[in-house]
């Protein structure tokens, strides 16, 4: 049972949540008590941060080492023309503080790396992956799995987005069960070289924020063991199930117990000698 502590302003602000059976005062309190780390304050992070803040997620950590560039503004709706040259975590924090006074923002102007990932993830309940590169994505999967922290993955390219939820508590599959390693350089382009429809990360980031809220409130069916693919060109959503791989180098029987020996470069592959609890 969650101790309820909503004041009169909060009863008004969150009234559309409070009247829902699936949320109610208890669900709202769970949101207010939760700590979520958003990795990236770009295309995916923008809508995710805005909606998680609006929903009353109590503490939002935002980690990003970039500054706002003009080419970001076609999709990164957290930032404005006036923010160009400003660290993204600063403009993101300013937006949240103006929008949602209940939310404590923890801006972390650093790049998530192998050296700091464990420490950063450790103080949050859930991680939302809004990064823009494979090494960060594989690093987050591995760290979150070892730590037991749920991870909501989202990624976009041109007209297509992918979303899945990794929940180590449910013993479900991890991202490496789906994709053991990253493509070789150039095989699957990123947004900087291949482009992305500006609206697309808005939709995909909202899918991710939805998953985070569901995990916090322990309601609905999260995308654990399911990869959602959204094709904005055909306006289709497909969900493909995937199972845990018993030979997965992270969550499999002989999976890693540390990221020490893994190189998060190129394909981020895990050699046999890293696995097996060595």
């Amino acid at each position: 049972m969650v101790a309820l502590d909503l004041d009169a302003t909060q009863l008004d602000r969150y009234s559309r949540h409070l009247i829902m059976d699936a949320v109610g005062p208890e669900g709202q309190q769970q949101l207010l008590n939760s700590r979520v780390l958003c990795v990236g304050a770009g295309g995916l992070g923008s809508p995710a941060i805005e909606y998680l803040a609006a929903a009353g997620v109590g503490t939002l950590g935002i980690v990003d080492d970039d500054v706002v560039e003009r080419s970001n503004l076609q999709r990164q709706v957290l930032h404005t023309e006036a923010d160009i040259g400003t660290p993204k975590v600063e403009s993101a924090a300013a937006f949240v503080e103006a929008q949602a006074p209940d939310v404590t923002v923890e801006p972390i102007e650093r790049r998530l790396t192998k050296a700091n990932a464990r420490e950063l993830v450790a103080s949050y309940d859930i991680v939302l992956d809004g990064s823009d590169n494979f090494p960060t994505r594989f690093l987050l999967n591995d760290v979150c799995w070892l730590r037991g922290t749920p991870l909501v993955h989202g990624a976009v390219l041109r007209f297509e987005g992918q979303v899945t939820t990794i929940d180590p508590r449910a013993d479900g599959p991890c991202y490496r069960c789906l994709f053991p390693s990253a493509p070789p350089a150039g095989a699957v382009p990123g947004c900087a070289t291949a482009g992305v429809l500006g609206v697309l990360p808005g939709t995909v980031g909202c899918f991710q924020a939805t998953e985070v809220c569901k995990l916090i409130m322990e309601t609905g069916d999260p995308l654990v063991g399911r990869l959602l693919s959204y094709n904005a060109a055909g306006m289709t959503v497909d969900t493909v199930e995937y199972a845990a791989n018993p030979n997965c180098p992270v969550c499999g029987t002989n999976g890693i117990d540390s990221i020490e020996e893994i190189e998060y470069t190129e394909t981020c592959a895990i050699d046999d000698h890293c696995a097996g609890g060595s």
């Binding site: 823009d132 990624a155 390219l157 297509e160 789906l178 390693s181 055909g234 493909v240």
Partner: protein
């Protein structure tokens, strides 16, 4: 049976779904050959210069990985089966 293609594979062919005709005793290899016959542009997207299916490409048969649960390319394919091929994407 039909193939479902995602992300760069959908873009390469211009199709999200591709139906192919297969024999009664067809395997995944046969279904893949039929797909490549219709869409040879997928060859470079799916296979390394050594002819191996790229590690980053995922192939699922009705949601299961035939390389984990069955016979891989030799697994049987029925007329109502759905085979899916997808790569990861990384943009954010």
């Amino acid at each position: 049976m039909h193939w479902k293609l995602f992300a760069t594979l959908r873009e390469a062919t211009g199709h999200q779904e591709v139906a192919v005709e297969i024999e009664e005793d067809a395997t995944i290899r046969d279904a893949l050959d039929a797909l490549l016959q219709n869409h040879p542009e997928l060859e470079d997207e799916l296979f390394s210069p050594q002819g191996e299916l790229y590690n980053h490409i995922r192939l699922l048969q009705n949601g299961d990985d035939p390389f984990l649960t069955g016979d891989g390319f030799d697994a049987d394919v029925g007329p109502d089966d759905e085979l899916a091929l997808f790569p990861p994407v990384s943009g954010g």
